[in-house]
Subunit: 319 residues, 2 copies
């Protein structure tokens, strides 16, 4: 079985359902038909065994997650997902692993109308790069740079669940199914992201932790933010953990949440309310922007929260 | 220095020179403006340390090669290169290595008008995934499936140089600079590929060896080919090696040549000659297509050439 056969046999179902792929897997390049007037949004992410996931993790969940991470980037741009490419580096050919991985990948791809159009399979230490391609039919996408002083800061869903799940798994503790799902099978907020396009002033997905990712919006928009930690949306398990330990780093700096953080003019609150009624995902105000720079996080007791390492940084500590 | 700063600081010069990138590196997605009527050609390739290159290889050459490999895929489709994304997995941050790598990457990118529009940097065993994006302004690209019985099979440049260079380096022998360049800094035949669009009937780039890659054209086009090995374009060094050893696997099955293999109706020979005068790259007829299936390689003594392993297969031997 050669590289080509590998990709073909396991991923065939993930590539055949769009009519805008004149040439798919199996030629030197895939050929994609972009609708007139639309712009193409692209994002590439790599997940490495032992860094982003445990070597023995469920391959079906891994297939889901490595696509979900990219879809979350498209969501944060307000783009409509369309195509993906997959570069798989594997220590060896393992049919059962590949079948489960491709099932996880393909199921999520179909759910979002994404066609797998190309890839590469090589031998080496387990890692996966996925590039997602989406469409922005008008304008220039929902960027990080449009936030203004006075805007409210919103977060979708809840923060810190993935971090708590990993902490419990590593300690060998029992992890509730829903909590494990939050770590292993995150739900990219694609429809919400698209709906917020034209309404929010800036948006990012929370992959490195709220402090780091909101920080990107603040720098790109040249504004400051005050966030009251009592307003953070927390599941009851994370709320109990924070209350017991006083450790806010889980919801603020662990990341892997794949929720959306966006900013909104207070004048658009009614529009957001009307929109929110169509989604079962809670949206919570966590802070407000002002002139200045930097993020000020205030703990419930009024003291400031600081973190030496705000957000997951793969190279923290190096030079 | 975080991931974002890393990519920004070393690759800034590779991303700023196209006007069709409304959003480049530094947001959730890059945004690309596709010209009206054009189709997008995409290809992703991964290079892994110890598999595709030696761990101590020159980082500048590596930066060149990991983009060249993708540009060669665009060339084989007859597409015009436009943009690239880069997913870098590094064991640690090494400024000197990154500076040299990005210099090699950026120089080749600028040479072909390619803008680096996005990327990801993670910690892990050294590997590099590059996705290239090109434009096909009319039609559906130069595919593998258009070859017809009676067509002539052409190859650009010379075959087997990269294999001979690697063999000599691994034996500790002296390697001439031009031969080493053929391995470490291959020249993607981008302009030639674009010029052959509308003239050749099928095309592929020779990355896995002529036998394997021509085999892809034969299967996709449902034709057979006879190739006379005395007609293969060989440098004098590879010709001397083959003559001394009788080993044809270097020019036929090692790969890493990044030359173009294409098929042409004999009626278009005059058109090809006119075109070839604009390129300094030799084009050689190596065989002819006929009805049937499979590739028949005839050695100069008239005996058939067989290879157990026709072309580089990362997973050969597995299940």
């Amino acid at each position: 079985m050669n590289e080509f056969d590998l990709i073909q046999s396991y991923f065939a179902s993930a590539g055949a359902h769009r009519s805008d792929v004149p040439v798919g897997v199996g030629d030197d390049c895939a050929l994609l038909q972009i609708p007139a007037g639309a712009k193409l949004a692209v994002s590439i992410d790599t997940m490495v065994s032992g860094v982003h996931f445990l070597p023995d993790c469920d391959p079906e969940a891994l297939g889901h997650k490595c696509l979900a991470v990219g879809l979350s980037d498209l969501a944060a741009m307000g783009a409509e997902p369309a195509w993906a490419t997959l570069a798989l580096t594997l220590p060896r050919v393992d049919s059962a692993w590949l079948r489960a991985f491709s099932a996880g990948f393909s199921t999520l791809a179909l759910e979002h109308g994404v066609a797998l159009v190309g890839g590469d399979t090589t031998r080496g230490p387990l890692s996966i790069s996925v590039q997602v391609h989406g469409l922005v039919s008008t304008g220039y996408g929902l960027r990080r740079s449009g936030a203004r002083p006075g805007d409210l800061v919103f977060v979708s869903g809840t923060l810190g669940d993935a971090g708590l799940a990993l902490q419990r798994m590593q300690a060998g503790d029992r992890v509730a199914d829903w909590l494990r799902t939050r770590l292993e099978r995150p739900t990219p907020r694609v429809a919400l992201g698209a709906a917020l396009y034209g309404l929010a002033t800036a948006m990012i997905d929370v992959s490195d932790g709220l402090a780091a990712d909101l920080g990107h919006i603040l720098r790109a928009s040249a504004v400051a933010a005050d966030v009251h930690l009592r307003d953070l949306p927390l599941s009851s398990e994370v709320a109990a953990y924070v209350s017991a330990t006083g450790d806010w780093s889980l919801p603020l700096a662990f990341g892997d949440d794949y929720e959306l953080c966006f900013t909104l003019s207070p004048q658009r609150i009614a529009d957001l309310r009307a929109l929110a009624s169509h989604f079962d995902c809670p949206l919570r105000v966590v802070g407000r922007l002002r002139y200045g720079s930097g993020l000020r996080c205030v703990m419930p007791d009024g003291a400031p929260w600081h973190s030496e390492q705000a957000g997951f940084d793969h190279f923290a500590g190096d030079e």
